[in-house]
């Protein structure tokens, strides 16, 4: 059988980089083909060539055995290739149907009296969209406004958009980066359905677990080259990770037993409202002791974001107490908390963690620029700051052309390394014995969207912080991450902590049930916590 899509010897050179180096890629009909690789491995370049956004310097593309030239996305669509970008290309104030026909609304029959000026065929479009979503099991309401849809549904709109344009080959660019684990699982079901009905799918990702969940074939790219292509049966996580990174990767973090000491962060009965005045943290209490990692597990949107914001002074607590090293910090300003020893790896690194237009140097001292020795009086001491920044860039292996490079031009993994370097170095300069200053680290989704190599690195840093006596609160939607790193695991559901378990004995199933809000009652029956709690 001829493959649906073949790329042979694709080469693409950018100034200073060989982004694709004689890459071969083959996609069978009805196949889900996972394309793995770290950031910058050349996956996106290859896909952009297939979608007509770039022209290859060499090589050829065949669709159903026929050699073709794809000059533009328009060409790609005409040849049945659809792409779902990582950042959705939707217009929020328009309806789903309007978004889907956007750019196609001029394809009206020439016989219509007014031609392009005629009325939009909204109803006809809605009907076809319903048909398509029914056929492929995509739950999409054509008349809903895109701005009202959750992220998972917006992604389905993007898929329907491609199908509406009669795509036979779908390219999904890191589709799970923006999804919760549950939404990701739903997406996998949809992908399976599409494949069964003859659509061919390229699935770009760097999460190993997902590859095994859904792919029929796995190809791995590294540094612009295709390293290999294998079936899921032949592959193991370790093998794939090694192919991606080019060296052995330790997926399981070796960590010593924790030696927790006195509690550094104490939270009592904390209540926090979200922006819509909804009580999203509703009476939460826990302690984090020096030398331990407390993991907060839970599906995204159960109050974790607001909890982290309240603990770092970015959001006011409505009720309850926050103590740091014994001092009441409930109503403290962020700066007071920072000076009391708090370090924070924020959930949204580009919004909160970095000033993208500032240099690496400036971002390294983002929280300390006003303190000695980085400033004397009001004057910044650039020689001191530059020495410090250069040292951290070296220690934390931040890949940057220089310390004066804008952080916004670095890759996601390196941006995160800048934050981790800044926060951990500051954190570990404090000692628990110092009066009122205590090393406390709040890490929210610290590895979201990062590649395997960076994840491994950041995990080791978190454990190092713990081993040096910091109290670490790890908030993550990745259950694997929580289970590998934590000493104790608290599960958050609808603003409550349902249970706190010992990480050594907790099982994936146990945590999964708690994350879904199901508490195992004493009488053996399952209760849904939200129904018994006022």
């Amino acid at each position: 059988m001829t493959p649906a899509l073949q790329a042979i010897g694709i080469t693409k050179r950018f100034p200073g980089v060989l982004a694709n180096d004689h890459v071969n890629f083959e996609l069978e009909r009805g196949q889900i083909h996972a394309l793995l690789g770290e950031n910058g491995a050349g996956k996106s370049t290859l896909m952009n060539i297939l979608y007509g956004l770039y022209q290859p310097d060499a090589g050829e593309i065949r669709i159903n055995g026929q050699t073709v030239t794809i000059a533009s996305p328009h060409d790609a669509i005409a040849r049945g290739i659809g792409m779902v970008h990582q950042h959705f290309m939707l217009v929020p104030p328009l309806t789903v149907a309007e978004n889907i026909i956007l750019g196609q609304e001029l394809n009206v029959p020439a016989t219509r009296p007014l031609g392009p000026l005629a009325v939009l065929h909204r109803r006809e479009a809605s009907r076809r969209i319903r048909e398509l979503s029914h056929q492929y099991g995509l739950d999409v309401d054509p008349d809903a406004y895109v701005r009202d849809l959750p992220v998972g549904a917006q992604q389905r709109v993007e898929i329907v958009k491609a199908l509406y344009r009669s795509a036979d080959i779908l390219i999904l660019d890191e589709p799970t980066a923006v999804l919760t684990p549950q939404e990701a699982d739903e997406l996998f079901v949809i992908m399976r359905g599409l494949a069964q009905q003859g659509k061919s799918i390229v699935f770009i990702t760097h999460k190993l677990r997902e590859v095994f969940a859904v792919a029929d074939r796995i190809s791995v790219m590294r540094a612009g080259q295709m390293v290999g292509s294998l079936s899921p049966a032949e592959a193991t996580r370790e093998k794939l990770a090694e192919m991606m990174v080019g060296r052995k990767v330790i997926l399981a973090i070796d960590k010593e037993w924790a030696h927790p000491a006195q509690p550094l962060l104490q939270v009592e009965n904390l209540r926090v409202m979200d922006d819509r005045q909804h009580m999203s943290v509703d009476g939460v209490s826990f302690d984090v002791r020096a030398g331990e990692i407390l993991g907060i597990a839970g599906v995204q949107g159960n109050g974790q974001t607001e909890l982290a914001e309240a603990l770092t002074g970015l959001r006011k607590a409505v009720a309850g107490r926050i103590h740091m090293a014994g001092h009441d910090m409930t109503h403290a300003h962020t700066r007071q908390m920072i000076e009391a020893g708090l370090a924070h790896v924020p959930e949204d690194r580009q919004k909160h963690g970095l000033v993208l237009s500032f240099s690496v140097r400036d971002n390294i001292v983002l929280c300390q620029y006003y303190q000695a020795p980085y400033a004397r009086g009001v004057e910044l001491q650039f020689p001191v700051i530059e020495d410090y920044a250069a040292r951290l860039v070296h220690l934390f292996d931040v890949r940057t052309p220089g310390i004066l490079t804008a952080v916004g031009s670095l890759s996601g993994g390196n941006q995160q390394k800048v934050i981790v370097a800044r926060e951990l170095t500051r954190l570990l300069s404090h000692h628990p014995e110092q009066d009122g200053v205590a090393p406390i680290l709040i890490a929210s989704q610290p590895t979201r969207g990062l590649d395997v190599g960076s994840i491994e690195f950041i995990h080791r840093q978190l454990v190092r912080a713990r081993d040096q006596g910091a109290a670490v609160l790890l908030i993550s939607a990745e259950l694997d991450e929580i289970m590998t790193l934590s000493d104790r695991i608290a599960v958050m559901y609808k603003g409550h902590i349902l249970a706190t378990l010992d990480a050594a004995t907790a099982t994936r199933e146990q945590l999964g049930l708690l994350m879904a809000g199901i508490v195992h009652g004493e009488d053996g029956a399952d209760h849904n916590r939200s129904s018994i709690h006022p």
Binding site: T334, M337, I338, H352, C367, Y370, V378, E379, L380
Partner: protein, 470 residues
């Protein structure tokens, strides 16, 4: 814009040829930050020429017009100094706008702050009499700055408190300022002895000296003292800047010790100040290039130059500027780092307003013929300053250049009209075109087939959404 070693002419191939030098110069220029603005200006003048050509029907008119513009701006009698007179307020106002932009604030209210600064400075200048310049002049300058700062602090307070967008409130504050100054000039603050509707004249000691008057002024020892103090201050700054660098360059020559002690720097400063105090009155008497009594160029030029250096230092070398720029570039990250948004909105607007107020102050103390504030005191400088600031990409030194460009065009326009019959409002067209090309670099890049710069430049949001400080 730095000259990197690779862009210097390669001297390895024997004698450096002229072609090599040009190529190196070209390479440096295309990489420097003045390249795009220069292209924008050039393109605007070419397009403006086309407009003149089409509307007048003759190509000669284009050359006549631009020849007149150039002569009026630079070469006619007092041409250059009149261009500089217009440049001074442009510099101050554009610096004000640039500080605002850097802090994420779009201060359209500089025109109003200019008026308020003018009136508070006039009040301070006119209400004290017989106070020596060494006290009175700094006081009057401060009054102008304070007036502008306070006027700008009102919209800043509204923004920080209620989220009211500064673009709206500063525009409204402009009109209040215009009417308020009119009321004060024609009512409570009117000079009863003057025929025209105007404020009283400021005291001679509060005036900004014209260049031609400097030798006379310096004959008063108290004025010479003022100059001595200024020179001492400059010397102190220079010493502070130079000593650590000398110490790093030539270690073991005692520079490091001098860099650390206050005494060495203060001594140097005192020596320079004393020398200026003693020598300058005599030297300027002996030889002084500015003799034309109708030349209006005044020492506000030095104030403007100093302000540009101060703004640069504040924004890029101090913790204050670091905070302002952080709040401007990413307020969420600023909050994360424990920086107070409210404080920086107030501070950013106040500095911006202070600079604008000083511009108004200088127009009264240095330029106004009656050394007072007349009823019809309109400038329009404030709105041009927005364009100047954008052209300079909010860089203080770029502002010096682009202010001079706008000042020269403003000054040369009259002779252009006289020379060629082309309306002087063509200047506005040229300025609008410059602004268009600067605001939309892709147009220029497309015109000249240039590649977009790699990486991300330090960008400034001209203005953010209407939802307050989110």
């Amino acid at each position: 814009m730095s000259v990197t070693s690779e862009s210097l002419p390669a001297s390895s191939g024997g004698s450096p040829s002229r072609a090599n030098l040009w190529r190196a110069l070209g390479a440096w220029l295309t990489r420097s930050s003045v390249y795009m603005p220069l292209l924008a200006i050039g393109t605007a003048f070419v397009l403006g020429g086309v407009v003149i050509w089409v509307t007048s029907g003759s190509l000669d008119t284009v050359f006549l017009a631009y020849e007149g513009l150039l002569r009026g701006a630079l070469f006619k009698s007092r041409g250059l100094s009149e261009s500089l007179v217009a440049t001074i307020p442009y510099i101050m106002l554009s610096l004000g706008i640039a500080v605002g932009f850097k802090a994420g604030l779009f201060n359209i209210g500089v025109e109003g702050q200019f008026y308020i600064g003018a009136i508070t400075a006039t009040w301070m200048g006119a209400s004290l009499q017989g106070v020596p310049a060494v006290i009175h002049l700094p006081l009057t300058i401060l009054a102008g700055a304070a007036g502008g700062a306070l006027w700008a602090a009102i919209p800043a307070f509204l923004k920080a408190r209620t989220g009211a967008h500064e673009v709206i409130t500063t525009i409204m504050m402009n009109y209040i300022a215009f009417r308020l100054t009119e009321f004060l000039i024609s009512g409570p603050f009117r000079d009863p002895n003057a025929a025209a509707v105007q404020t009283p004249r400021v005291a001679p000691n509060a005036e900004l000296w014209s260049f031609h008057a400097i030798p006379d002024r310096l004959q008063d020892p108290l004025n010479a003292l003022l100059v001595g103090v200024v020179f001492a201050g400059l010397a102190f700054v220079v010493a502070r800047w130079a000593l650590p660098r000398l110490a790093r360059r030539y270690p073991g020559m005692g520079w490091a010790g001098a860099a650390q002690t206050l005494g060495a720097k203060a001594g140097f400063a005192f020596a320079v100040g004393a020398l200026a105090f003693v020598l300058l009155p005599a030297l300027t008497r002996l030889a002084w290039p500015f003799t034309d009594p109708y030349d209006r160029l005044h020492i506000g030029l030095f104030v403007a130059l100093a302000a540009a250096v101060m703004v640069w230092w504040l924004l890029w070398k101090t913790t204050v500027g670091f905070e302002l720029r952080m709040v401007g570039a990413n307020p969420s990250a600023a909050r994360y780092a424990g920086v107070s948004i409210t404080r920086n909105i107030l501070l950013g607007m106040s500095i911006s307003g202070a600079l604008a107020g000083m511009a108004g102050m200088m127009e009264v103390l240095g330029v106004s013929i009656c050394r007072c504030l007349p009823l019809f005191f309109s400038s329009g400088y404030g709105f041009d300053a927005i364009a100047i600031s954008l052209l300079a990409k909010n860089n203080p030194f770029g502002i010096l250049l682009s202010s001079f460009l706008f000042g020269a065009m403003r000054n040369g326009a009259d002779l252009m009209e006289l020379n060629s019959g082309v309306s002087k409002y063509i200047i506005s067209l040229l300025q609008a075109l410059v602004l268009l090309f600067v605001a939309a670099p892709p147009i220029v890049r497309w015109l000249y087939r240039l590649r977009a710069p790699a990486g991300r430049e330090e960008s400034t949001a001209v203005t953010r959404g209407w939802g307050g400080q989110a």
